[in-house]
């Protein structure tokens, strides 16, 4: 079986820019919605003093992860901030005392068994750092009576253009990634691990191959540089030839996919107890003079991060995440989220005008899920929920490859997202 993909320009301009640790900001706005699933509820009140690593938001929900203070100072506001998803989300505003003090409660967790490990992962506030933000504790905390995964797959594909934050993690923290893998394999009793890295990162492949040469159960797999290689189901197929069935989680195919930077963070947390309060972010785009990788505090304003990368002119488009799946920021003061792996700034960016579909079929041969994007668009335009279901609109992973290749510049991926919501609504109405 052959899986469809598209070839994208790489633009990995920041690949050889070592990560620069940014100074702590004077103010952070930390959203309670840093992950997929239930947002946290603030656990602090206005006027509270907090230090780095203190919990400021938590939730009882299974699909969630706690949120921690990324600077030391005083909580000055708890307010709704317009989230990039378009909804208002409760956020905690902390103004710095300039000391950068670390919480007294930060100490390495005691981990002796699987339960301790999962508890530690939950408390670390870990989420998928590749961009989707799936809570790591939930991913690793599968039902052990039902599933016995054969593979831990480390997602180091980084198939989106521009982004190099995972690559920098491989180059700078390869040992941590390996250590994190060993921890997961040990506590979850998973027999094998495959590290998937695209071939456009030969140095990362070489480095990881060298590092894990003594671990017979860990292998590095060089993947074709194609988009969307890093999509979970695509990656599982590329590394193990296994197919994740429609509507099933990867665990049903005996695989768990974790992002490389997430694994490095887990290793760090088990050693130090410092929760997820900062992350590596690539700053690039056609007006960025110094394409860079920064380590920045969660909640820092993107305008402040950009300041360190030097812009040649004013941006007309700011993206959080990659150019294929990232979202447009609507404000230069938007705060950095745990999920933001890139900050891309563009000026004079083209705005395309869609024209009529010419049925060329490029979208069909681009779709990694083997769907018919143009037919889906047509079915949505006709508001035909039955046909949408028949054409498996729910399987669309919103990778955007169809919109990318379309010569008529139709916004197919956008339509599919709307179509999914439409089908959900129709099904709800029926019930």
């Amino acid at each position: 079986m052959l899986i469809h993909s598209v070839h994208l320009p790489h633009y990995k301009n920041s690949a050889e820019s070592p990560t620069i640790e940014l100074p702590l900001p004077d103010k952070v706005i930390i959203s309670m919605a840093q992950h997929l699933g239930a947002p946290c509820t603030p656990t602090v009140a206005i006027g509270d003093k907090v230090k780095i690593g203190d919990i400021i938001g938590n939730s009882e929900a299974v699909m969630s992860a706690p949120v921690h203070a990324s600077i030391s100072g005083t909580v000055t506001a708890i307010t709704d901030v317009l989230h990039i998803s378009g909804r208002n989300m409760s956020s905690v505003v902390i103004e710095s005392d300039g000391k950068g003090e670390i919480s007294d409660r930060i100490k390495p967790p005691v981990v002796n068994n699987r339960e301790d490990f999962l508890k530690a992962v939950r408390e670390s506030g870990s989420i998928g750092l590749g961009g989707a933000g799936f809570p790591t504790s939930l991913k690793l905390g599968y039902d052990r009576t039902e599933y016995h995964p054969d593979y831990l797959i480390i997602n180091g594909a980084e198939c989106e253009p521009y982004i190099t934050s995972d690559y920098r993690c491989f180059m700078e923290e390869g040992e941590k990634i390996l250590d994190g893998i060993r921890l997961i394999l040990k506590y979850l009793e998973i027999p094998k691990c495959i590290i998937g890295i695209e071939k456009n990162k030969p140095r990362a492949i070489a480095k990881m191959t060298e590092l894990c040469k003594n671990d017979s159960n860990i292998t590095v797999k060089a993947l074709k540089s194609s988009y969307p290689q890093g999509a979970e189901k695509t990656l599982i197929f590329s590394t193990t030839k296994r197919v994740v069935k429609e509507g099933c989680l990867p665990i049903t195919s005996g695989c768990i996919v974790v992002n490389s930077s997430t694994v490095a963070f887990i290793s760090d947390y088990i050693k130090t107890g410092m929760p997820l309060v900062k992350r590596r972010i690539t700053v690039d785009g056609n007006i960025v003079k110094k394409p860079s990788n920064f380590m920045a505090a969660v909640g820092m304003s993107i305008g402040e991060i950009v300041y360190h990368a030097d812009l040649s002119e004013k941006p007309d488009r700011i993206l959080l995440g990659g150019p294929m799946m990232g979202a447009c920021a609507f404000d230069i003061d938007y705060p950095l989220a745990k999920t933001s792996n890139a900050l891309l700034l563009f000026a004079n960016s083209p705005v395309y005008k869609p024209s009529a579909c010419i049925r060329c079929g490029r979208c069909v041969s681009a779709c990694t899920m083997n769907l018919l994007p143009t037919e889906l668009e047509h079915a949505f335009d006709m508001r035909d929920a039955e046909r949408l279901k028949k054409l498996n609109v729910n399987l669309c992973v919103n990778c955007g490859a169809c919109s990318y290749v379309c010569p008529a510049k139709r916004n197919l991926a956008e339509k599919h997202q709307l179509a999914k919501a439409f089908v959900r609504k129709q099904s709800a109405v029926k019930k």
Partner: protein, 314 residues
């Protein structure tokens, strides 16, 4: 702070546009046009220009009357004009060619919604309409190089003649026929260009031409006659440029295979059993009509798709 653009992802798009695709097709048709001018004289060029101009003008007028956005800049009307001209005898009166352009653009293309919406290939349908309306004009073929020797004007196409044509004549196109269909080498050159530029996949032409080859090989038992069969008539032009039209042919590879083989079968049925010497245009038109049906039965299986009604865990 300047205004920021807010758009759904993806935020980058490929450089390929509809206009570029059409431009590639026009470029791919140029070798055959040059060959045609060499074989049939300057009137071949004039005929092509007349058809292109008429198609563009008809498209512009129709869009204007329908108060729709004008689409002449996508160059698809130029492609239709060229293809129609290539399907006409060089001696056809210009007014008839213009009637063909009207049929192609106004009736077949615009009445059904414009680019991408037409169910039948405009140039082929127009050719068939002209064939039925002006049969004698449409079947009077000029002798190659007739412009150098005005005494001998008409000849028959290799398919209608009793003496088999030389393979070299078929490759070079120095035989009777429509002005753009005779030179196999030039047409194949254009086809290779389209494949290299990833404008078309070779699936349909290979299936179409392959089917014709296999059937004539079985029927005649002679490999040279089978080669002559694929080089004669409008087969190469039809298979490379008309059976690969996006709007009127299937989108999936499986669909393209069915389409190509179907075209080959119908072509050979007409060539062997029909009253007409050539069946390429009818076969493509017939398969155009079957395309929605082929599309319906060739929906690819989605990655990880489970049969509806089947059980799926979690």
């Amino acid at each position: 702070m300047a205004k920021l653009i807010i758009e759904p992802s993806p935020h980058i798009k490929s450089a390929m546009t509809t206009q570029k695709i059409m431009l590639c097709v026009i470029i791919a048709l140029l070798p055959a046009l040059i060959a045609s001018v060499w074989i049939f004289g300057l009137r071949a060029l004039v005929m092509t220009v007349v058809c292109c101009a008429a198609c563009v003008v008809f498209e512009w007028i129709t869009r204007k009357i329908m108060k729709r956005e004008n689409t002449i800049s996508d160059l698809s009307a130029v492609v239709t004009g060229m293809l129609l001209a290539f399907n006409l005898p060089v001696t056809l009166p210009f007014y008839m060619a213009v009637i063909g352009c009207f049929v192609a653009i106004v009736i077949v293309k615009q009445f059904f919604g414009g680019i991408g919406q037409n169910f039948a290939n405009p140039a082929i349908t127009a050719r068939i309409v002209l064939m039925l309306s002006f049969t004698s004009y449409m079947t009077t073929w000029a002798e190659p190089f007739y412009y150098k020797n005005p005494d001998v004007i008409t000849t028959s196409t290799p398919l209608a003649s009793d003496t088999p044509a030389e393979i070299t004549d078929l490759l070079l196109g120095t035989t009777g026929g429509c002005l753009g269909e005779t030179c196999a080498i030039a047409l194949l050159l254009g086809g290779i260009f389209l494949v290299v530029m990833k404008i078309i996949t070779p699936v349909t032409p290979v299936c179409f031409i392959g089917t014709v080859f296999v059937i004539s090989l079985i029927a005649t038992g002679d490999i040279m006659q089978a080669v002559a069969a694929i080089l004669s008539g409008g087969l190469i032009l039809g298979a490379v440029f008309m059976a690969t039209d996006y709007a009127t042919t299937p989108m999936t590879t499986k669909g393209k295979i069915i389409f190509g083989i179907g075209c080959g079968l119908v072509t050979m049925l007409i060539r062997y059993f029909g009253t007409m010497p050539e069946g390429v245009s009818y076969s493509i038109l017939l398969m155009n009509i079957l395309t929605p049906l082929i599309d319906r039965f060739t929906v690819p299986k989605a990655f990880g798709e489970v049969k509806k009604g089947g059980k799926s865990k979690k």
